[in-house]
Amino acid sequence: MSLALRIGGSFSVPQALLAMLPKLPAFPINSIFHNSPAIDERLEELREQIENNHGRPPFMIDNGTIVKAAPKKKMSKRRHRTKLYTPGDKQIHPLNNIVRCPACGHVKRSHFMCMNCFAEIRTFLKGKKRENGLIKDAENPQTNLDPVDEKLIYPGKYLKDDQIRLEEKKWIPVREEPLMFDKKHLKHSK
């Protein structure tokens, strides 16, 4: 009864049904074939397998049952109620103010600086300041050292693996490059 109901419920959504189908060999497939406009390749393959196996379904994991994602623990009352019933301002909202950056074509939040352009402009201005002498780099007092002397004075030190990994600075978060703006991605096309 419940199996039939579930199949009937998901029948109106062909995408979900097709994803589920290889796991459902036990019920008659022909009835679905008549109604569906396009035949999935997986269904053809399944039919061949059934015909070769004397009308019985091939061996699969979870033969004949529907296995759904199961939570590992019962959700506590507090967790459940916080998720569903807290005031809306404490829940995470989708961003609805996404626009196109006129300077680079990526997406950005309206009324905010595009961080992609900002990073470019910031490095450029830093270079400009360095050119104009506003930023002065510390000068190495031993630039004219003989290479042999340098090797003797600074032999270098042995770094452990974790120290090398620390020096790579992968722990510093880096901003990802945003997506290119496309009108088709908008919920409400402007």
Partner: protein, 248 residues
């Protein structure tokens, strides 16, 4: 906006010192990146300080540099170690940069939240009309991109360019130079061959804006109401006032 009143000990003194330090560093570096709350709090203090300092400097225009540095009372806002360096920059540079301004020396630009643990909303606090103004270069980049795509500039960008170049010394010319620099720097444009050195940028330039704002029906509708249909105001007619009978 989060409040800065988190720890109640010495908050007033701490905030006063923060404002002074932000002020000195803003004038030193032309723009600084801070959290939104600090930027907003310091902005009004910096505006007032700059307005007073530049007005006092105008009054002492006929005196020499040392005298102006000593007797400009507004400079007392700064901390003593900063006074000479920042004060001399105000007298030598900022007074010439802002001859007609009495307010509006700074701008706040909103940035995305910080990529750290606290996700604090960040912003840029910058001096207007400087060579290192971020909005100036951003607008220059927009115009450069549109010129490389052979698209006419839209109304909003024109409006922004006008605002940026109106009170700047050699505004139009410096903006023109900035656009040419932006083409080279940000788009890797090669003016001799007319091509781009980076194929990715060439692909990126195929992303075009909504053309209705550039050459379509929405041109010239920037300041028009989208909700109510409006008619332009009629031009003023000259009215002849009859001669007063009381004036002999």
């Amino acid at each position: 906006m989060p409040s800065l009143q988190k720890f109640h000990a010495n908050v007033a003194r701490h905030i006063k010192l923060m404002d002074k330090n932000l002020c000195a560093n803003l004038i030193r570096h032309e723009n600084i990146i801070t959290t939104r709350a600090k930027a907003k709090r310091a902005q009004s203090k910096i505006e007032k300080f700059l307005a007073d300092a530049i007005r006092n400097n105008k009054e002492l225009a006929d005196k020499d540099f040392e005298y102006r540095l000593e007797n400009n009372d507004a400079l007392n806002f700064l901390q003593p170690p900063d006074r000479k360096e920042v004060g001399s920059k105000i007298i030598n540079e900022l007074a010439q940069r802002y001859p007609g301004r009495s307010s509006g020396f700074t701008r706040i630009i909103k940035l995305e939240p910080r990529l750290g643990e606290d996700k604090a909303p960040m912003s840029v606090l910058e001096l207007v009309d400087s060579d290192y103004e971020i909005k100036f270069w951003y607008t220059a980049k927009i115009v450069a991109r549109l010129e490389l795509q052979n698209i006419p500039v839209d109304d909003l960008t024109k409006h922004n360019v006008h605002k940026l170049t109106k009170l700047r010394n050699d505004g139009e010319e410096s903006f023109r130079n900035a656009v040419e620099t932006a083409k080279l720097e940000f788009f890797k444009f090669n003016p001799e061959t007319g091509s781009f050195n980076d194929p990715e940028i060439e692909k990126n330039l195929q992303n075009k804006p909504n053309m209705a704002y550039h050459e379509g029906p929405l041109v010239g509708t920037l300041l028009k109401s989208k909700k109510f249909g409006t008619t332009p105001r009629p031009t003023r007619e000259t009215v002849e006032i009859p001669k007063s009978p009381f004036l002999s």
